[in-house]
């Protein structure tokens, strides 16, 4: 399935979309670019870990709000300038949880449970009722996809200490978007390298769009089943594409494009350049093949991973060096 078909078939205005991957790794940019081109609106984005697609969707006017733990791309962009400004201005709401709390919310959904407990967030403003964003923007009790409470503190009934723990509500995305390196014809997924929160996000989603580097016969997946994490029966759309995550990386296949990321993030933070960048790299691009053509084969081949490293040790990262 192409990114255009996947977005057209599964992604609707106003949905809760979970974005898999982790900042500069396995974020399915091809899908998010397409969401901008198709003019998707009112998305409630959520993730274990954010990334550049947050900026992209915000700048494309696709976002109503974000539920997550972080607003940035680690060293590649310490804080997302456009998103953080929209949050400060109240144009995009941001519901704040911790990293582990987010994976637990997806895990609860994956387990078919209403909640899971944690000792995270206890004692902090992450559970300050004053800062309950989804209530303040009127979602609680109105939109049935959102829980009635942000959290619930209770005393453990089992042990003499009766420790207070924080219960966190399940988060069920309408659609989860993830990327795997190798996928069987029916959808069995093999993620290589660190997994972040993708398995939990996939099991949590009502629908799952899976971009991938390669499709192989399921028989091939069966040769090393311990290497596969996600069964085919929870996958709804397979989108095989080279460089589906450009400008970020796919472990063992391609590295991130540091110069592109620097340009992208700089443009996102600059009112005079943002729209121009979006025109050039999103709206005037017909499809992923056009995008790859514009990048050019020389640039792409320089990102190819060296199998001894799973990345390219000669990748030019000077855009972020001093």
């Amino acid at each position: 399935m192409s990114p255009a078909e996947a977005v057209k078939t599964f992604i609707k205005n106003g949905q809760i979309i979970a974005s898999g991957g982790f900042t500069i790794t396995r974020k399915s940019y091809a899908i998010y670019y397409e969401m901008l081109r198709q003019g998707i609106k009112g998305i409630k984005l959520c993730h274990v870990t954010p990334g550049g697609p947050d900026e992209l969707l915000a700048a494309g006017g696709c976002l109503a709000g974000i539920t997550g733990c972080y607003v940035g791309d680690e060293l590649v962009q310490v804080i997302h300038p456009y998103c953080s400004r929209q949050i400060k201005q109240g144009n995009i709401w941001h519901e704040d949880y911790s990293h582990y709390s987010m994976i637990l919310r997806f895990k609860a959904a994956a387990m078919g449970l209403p909640f899971l407990p944690t000792h995270s967030q206890v004692g902090s403003d992450l559970i300050n009722p004053e800062y309950d964003v989804e209530r303040k923007v009127g979602l609680r009790g109105k939109d049935s996809r959102f829980p009635l409470e942000k959290f619930h503190v209770m005393k453990d009934p089992f042990w003499p200490v009766h420790q207070k723990v924080c219960l966190l509500p399940a988060l069920i995305p309408d659609v989860t978007v993830i990327h795997a390196q190798i996928v069987g014809e029916k959808g069995t997924a093999r993620i290589m390298g660190p997994l972040g929160g993708d398995v939990e996000e996939a099991y949590a989603g009502k629908k799952v769009i899976l971009t991938c580097d390669q499709v192989v016969p399921e028989d091939y997946m069966s040769k090393d089943p311990n290497a596969n994490q996600i069964p085919h029966h929870i996958i709804d759309a397979i989108v095989p594409l080279p460089y589906a995550c450009h400008p970020v990386s796919s472990y063992m296949n391609y590295d991130y494009d540091a110069a592109f990321l620097r340009e992208f993030h700089t443009a996102m933070g600059d009112d005079s350049r943002r729209d121009k960048w979006l025109q050039e790299w999103v709206y005037e691009i017909k499809d992923h093949w056009h995008y790859l053509e514009k990048l050019g084969s020389e640039r792409l081949s320089k990102l190819r991973a060296n199998p001894a490293y799973a990345y390219n040790p000669d990748n030019d990262r000077s855009a972020y060096m001093n």
Partner: protein
């Protein structure tokens, strides 16, 4: 200040790395924590194990990563798994010994703010229109909730309020919310039965926590700084009576940091900005 063979960020890295003992299991985020743990492994703690929340155990970087989940973060690691195993089993389940965390603000009880605040520190603010935004918690709240932790922070006035403007990661006295009121309670009483802040390493000094009051005091000040001047920048009545001057780092450790840990200035470079 005398001419130095080391920079202030390097000093911070060296001093923080001393909290990493051999055979410790260390949870690190991107940036200073990663640099610190890497230096420790290359010097006095070769058997320390580095955990990163992307899902890696015991990485031995060939090139320093830009992210705790990018391909470089996994080089040489012994187990690749997901965020749940690292933050749930290892940090939450107390199979790690120390976390190294950054922050935008830190207060007298070692509470961290990495998220947001009002335009003017100390004022209330509307969470739908915060005065400023930083990245947010990431895994900092989670590791601070379960593990002993050391804080790295740039030494600037506004970063050391008596009470953080937003409590992202819990220190020794933390918040409880009941019937619209905020109550300050010891972390154990709030439910945090493990961990807590061990030290704050700034670009000028090291603060530790008084065993009785759990309030941060000045333990060490870096060469070229003055305890009295430091006191003026701190939002609480900090005890400086126990302060001693920090020994400058050895040339050897600085050389290892520059030539072996971060020869490409991936992180040392970013710290200068």
């Amino acid at each position: 200040m005398a001419e130095q063979y080391y920079s202030v960020p390097e000093m911070v890295v060296v001093e923080t790395s001393k909290f990493v003992k051999d055979e410790m299991v260390i949870f690190v985020g991107i940036g200073l924590g990663l640099l610190t743990a890497s230096l420790a492994v290359k010097t006095h703690a070769p058997r320390a194990t580095i955990l990163m929340e992307g899902g890696t155990v015991d990485s031995r970087f060939a090139h320093l990563p830009f992210s705790v989940c990018e391909p470089r973060s996994a080089y040489g690691c012994t187990v690749t798994t997901g965020l749940f195993d690292i933050l749930g089993y290892n940090a939450g389940g107390a199979h790690a010994d120390l976390a190294i965390l950054g922050a935008a603000q830190v207060d007298q009880y070692g509470n961290l703010n990495s998220s947001m605040g009002p335009r003017q520190s100390g004022e209330p603010f509307d969470v739908l229109h915060p005065g400023w935004r930083a990245t947010g918690s990431g895994g900092a709240n989670d590791s601070a909730s379960g593990l002993p932790f050391v804080v790295n922070i740039v030494h600037q006035d506004r970063r050391f309020p008596k009470v953080v403007d937003y409590l992202t990661s819990p220190g020794w006295m933390v918040k409880e919310f009941e019937n619209g009121k905020v109550k300050w309670v010891p972390r154990k009483e709030a439910g945090l039965i493990r961990g807590g802040p061990v030290a704050i390493v700034t670009t000028q000094c090291i603060m530790k926590f008084d065993e009785k009051t759990k309030i941060a005091y000045l333990a060490e000040y870096f060469p070229g700084t003055d305890p009295g001047e430091i006191k003026k920048t701190i939002g609480w009545d900090i005890d400086i009576s126990r302060a001693v001057q920090t020994e400058p780092p050895s040339r050897e450790v600085i050389n290892i940091l520059r030539n072996e840990v971060d020869p490409d200035k991936v992180l040392l470079g970013s710290l200068k900005k």
